[in-house]
C-alpha cells in the first residue's frame, strides 16, 4: 500500500519521503509487438508501469494477452521479431532504449534480470552449472577469477537450500524444481534492481510452488538480494500470496491496477471480476454456487477493435463501449479502464 502511494507521489514530482521506497522502474506508454508476414501483432499497446524499491508487482491475465511481451519490453529485450514502437523504459533514470540492443546487454543481470518462462529448459545442457556461471560472471566482470566466481555462486546456493555439489552437475542431473532454483540463482547473482519472473509457478505442484514463492518473497523482503520484483502469471491465487500491487492485462492493455487487497476484495473491471471469480480454491464459496467462467476468446491482436477490447465478452457492456476505447480512470488509489466508471 505505502509503495503504491509512493509511486503516485513520485510520479507527480514530490520529494522522496523517509521510509517510503524510492522508485526504481518506470515504463511510459510502451507499445510494441511482433512483425509477422500478415501484419503487426500489437501485443503490448500503451502500457505504463511504476515499481518502487521493495515492491513485488504481479501482472495477471490469460494466455496471449501480452504479459510476457511486456516483460521483455521492460528489460529492453527486443530481439526480432519483437519490436518497440513507442515508449520509454527507465530504470534508476537510465533510459534503456537510448542504447542499442547490443549495449543494453550490460544492464541485463545487473540492473534488470529475467527468469524466463520455461526456466527449466533455460540451462545449457552441454555445460556443467559451474562453467555456465563462470561464463556469465566473466561477461559482466572481466577480471573475475574462476575461484571467486564459484565462491559467490556457492554462497548463493546455500541461501536457496541447494547443496554446492550442484555446481559440479549437468542440468539433466537435477530435478525440475532444482533447475528452477539454479536459474533463479544465476539471474540474481549480480543483485539486480529488478527481477522479472515469467510464470514461475506453472508446471510445479502445490508443495514445490509454495517453497518457490517463499523463496522469491525472501529475496525481496528479507535478504534484499533483489530490490524489487515483477511476477507475471495467470495463476491469481498463487501470486496473490506474495504481491503488493496487481496489474490486470487484457488484449495488450492494462485494464486495472491497484493494491492487491483492493483488487481481490473488490474488483472493478468486469474482466477482473470474471478472472477472480473463476479462481478455484478449496474454499466454501467455490462449493456454494455455480461458477460460470468467461465465454468466448480475446480479440485478434493483428486487428484489435477500436473500441473497448473486452466489450464483446463483457456482461455489462452498453452503447458507449462499442464507440470508443476507455482510458485508465483513477478511482482513489487505483485505476480502471472501463466506461462504467467514467462518471457520466
Amino acid at each position: 500500500m505505502t509503495h503504491w502511494i509512493s509511486s503516485i507521489i513520485l510520479e507527480h514530482g514530490l520529494p522522496d519521503d523517509e521510509g517510503v521506497g524510492k522508485m526504481l522502474l518506470r515504463a511510459i506508454d510502451l507499445k510494441g509487438g511482433y512483425a509477422i508476414r500478415s501484419g503487426f501483432v500489437k501485443a503490448v499497446d500503451g502500457c505504463s508501469l511504476t515499481l518502487s524499491e521493495g515492491e513485488i508487482l504481479g501482472i495477471i491475465g490469460e494466455s496471449g494477452c501480452g504479459k510476457s511481451t511486456l516483460g521483455k519490453l521492460l528489460m529492453g529485450f527486443t530481439m526480432p521479431p519483437l519490436k518497440l514502437l513507442n515508449g520509454k523504459a527507465l530504470i534508476e533514470e537510465i533510459d534503456l532504449y537510448s542504447y542499442d540492443l547490443e549495449d543494453r546487454r550490460r544492464f541485463w543481470g545487473s540492473l534488470i534480470s529475467m527468469m524466463p518462462q520455461y526456466s527449466m529448459n533455460a540451462l545449457n545442457p552441454t555445460m556443467k552449472i559451474k562453467d555456465f556461471i563462470y561464463d556469465f560472471l566473466k561477461h559482466h566482470k572481466r577480471d573475475i577469477t574462476r575461484e571467486e566466481a564459484l565462491e559467490i555462486a556457492s554462497d548463493r546456493l546455500k541461501s536457496l537450500n541447494l547443496s554446492p555439489n550442484v555446481l559440479d552437475m549437468y542440468p539433466f542431473e537435477l530435478s525440475g524444481g532444482m533447475k528452477q532454483r539454479v536459474v533463479i540463482m544465476v539471474s540474481t547473482l549480480l543483485n539486480p534492481k529488478t527481477l522479472i519472473c515469467d510464470e514461475p509457478t506453472s508446471a510445479l505442484d502445490v508443495s514445490t510452488q509454495r517453497v518457490l514463492l517463499e523463496l522469491l518473497y525472501n529475496m525481496v523482503k528479507l535478504e534484499k538480494i533483489v530490490s524489487s520484483m515483477i511476477i507475471i502469471s495467470h495463476d491469481v491465487a498463487a501470486i496473490s500470496q506474495i504481491c503488493d500491487t496487481l496489474y490486470v492485462m487484457y488484449a495488450g492493455k492494462i485494464v486495472e491496477k491497484g493494491s492487491l487487497n483492493d483488487i481481490i476484495e473488490e474488483p472493478l473491471h468486469p474482466y477482473t471480476k470474471a478472472l477472480i471469480s473463476s479462481v478455484l480454491t478449496p474454499e466454501e464459496r467455490v462449493r456454494r454456487g455455480k461458477i460460470t467462467g468467461l465465454k468466448g476468446a480475446p480479440p485478434d491482436l493483428l486487428n484489435p477493435p477500436v473500441y473497448c477490447r473486452f466489450a464483446a465478452r463483457c456482461p455489462s457492456a452498453f452503447s458507449k463501449c462499442k464507440q470508443a476505447e476507455p482510458p485508465l480512470i483513477r478511482i482513489g488509489n487505483r485505476e480502471v479502464a472501463c466506461w462504467l466508471f467514467s462518471g457520466e
Binding site: S63, V206, S240, Q241, L275, V279, L280, P282, I291, L294
Partner: protein
C-alpha cells in the same frame, strides 16, 4: 447408488534396467482398493509421481496390473472384449499432443469413433452430432476439424479430446488432468460440462488432478494418493476442511487461497 467400478488390491511394479546393470523395481501403485459409484465424480489427488496416472492406465487396460483385480459392472475388465469395454469406459489423457495421431487431421479421430464404436450413422447425422459435441466444449467445427494436431493450441486439443469422449458418451470417463492447458477463465466452463454430464446424464467420472481447487469444485468424493498408496478417502468437503492424514493436511495447507498472504515457515 450402485457400484460401477470396483478396484481391489491393485498393485503395479515397474522393473527398469536389468540387461547389464542390476534390476530396479519401482512400486508405482501399492495395494489400493476403491469403488466408483454410478453418477459419481470421484477425484484422485496427489503430487507428481504418486501413482495417479498409473492407476488410470490400469483401469483403461493399458497396463496389466502386477496384482489385483478391476471389476466393471461386476465383471473383471480383462474378460470384457476391448471394443465393448471402450464403448463404456473412455479416457482423456494428460498430454493432448501425444494422444492424437499427428499424421492425420483432427477429423480422422472423430471418423474413427463413428466407424468403430458407434455403428451405422448416416453422414448428415454425423455432422450434426459432431457440431453438437464440439459446441458443448466451446469449439467451432471449422476451427478444428480440418487441422493437424500441431496447428492447435494445448487448450484447444484438450477440448477436442473431451469432445471425442462426449461423442462416445461412455458410462465412465477417466480424465487425467483434462484442463491443465486451458486458460483459467475457460477452465471453469469445461469443468461445468463435466458437472452437467453427471447431473443430466448420470455419467460417472474419475477426475485425476494435482489441482485441489479444481477437484474440490467438481468432485463428490476424493481419494488422496501419496507414494502409490491411498492415504485418505472421503467426501470432498470432509477431506478438504477436516483432513486427517498428516500428508493431506500439508497438501491442503500448501494450496494458495485467494488474497491470503503467505505465512513463512521458519
Amino acid at each position: 447408488m450402485s457400484i460401477l467400478l470396483r478396484v481391489e488390491k491393485l498393485t503395479k511394479i515397474f522393473t527398469a534396467g536389468g540387461i547389464f546393470g542390476s534390476k530396479m523395481k519401482v512400486m508405482a501403485v501399492n495395494n489400493i482398493s476403491f469403488e466408483c459409484g454410478k453418477g459419481e465424480i470421484l477425484g484422485i489427488i496427489g503430487e507428481s509421481g504418486s501413482g495417479k496416472t498409473t492407476t488410470m492406465k490400469m483401469i483403461l487396460k493399458l497396463y496389466k496390473p502386477t496384482e489385483g483385480k478391476i471389476y466393471f459392472q461386476g465383471k473383471d475388465v480383462w474378460t470384457i472384449p476391448s471394443k465393448e469395454y471402450y464403448r463404456h469406459v473412455q479416457g482423456v489423457f494428460q498430454d493432448p499432443y501425444s494422444s492424437i495421431n499427428p499424421v492425420y487431421k483432427v477429423r480422422y479421430l472423430f471418423d474413427n469413433i463413428f466407424d468403430n464404436l458407434l455403428g451405422d450413422i448416416p453422414v448428415d447425422e454425423r455432422r450434426e452430432i459432431l457440431n453438437e459435441v464440439l459446441d458443448r466444449v466451446q469449439l467451432k467445427a471449422e476451427e478444428v476439424l480440418y487441422k493437424y494436431s500441431y496447428e492447435l493450441s494445448g487448450g484447444q486439443l484438450q477440448r477436442v479430446l473431451l469432445a471425442a469422449c462426449l461423442l462416445v458418451n461412455p458410462e465412465l470417463i477417466i480424465a487425467d488432468e483434462p484442463t491443465s492447458m486451458i486458460d483459467a477463465s475457460m477452465r471453469v466452463a469445461i469443468l461445468n460440462v463435466m458437472k452437467s454430464l453427471k447431473e443430466e446424464e448420470g455419467n460417472s467420472i474419475i477426475f485425476i488432478t494435482h489441482d485441489i481447487g479444481q477437484a474440490f469444485y467438481v468432485c463428490d468424493r476424493l481419494l488422496v494418493m501419496h507414494k502409490g498408496e491411498i492415504v485418505e478417502e472421503g467426501n470432498a468437503e470432509e477431506v478438504v476442511f477436516h483432513p486427517q492424514h498428516p500428508y493431506t493436511k500439508r497438501l491442503i495447507a500448501d494450496v494458495p487461497k485467494l488474497g491470503k498472504k503467505l505465512i513463512l515457515r521458519r
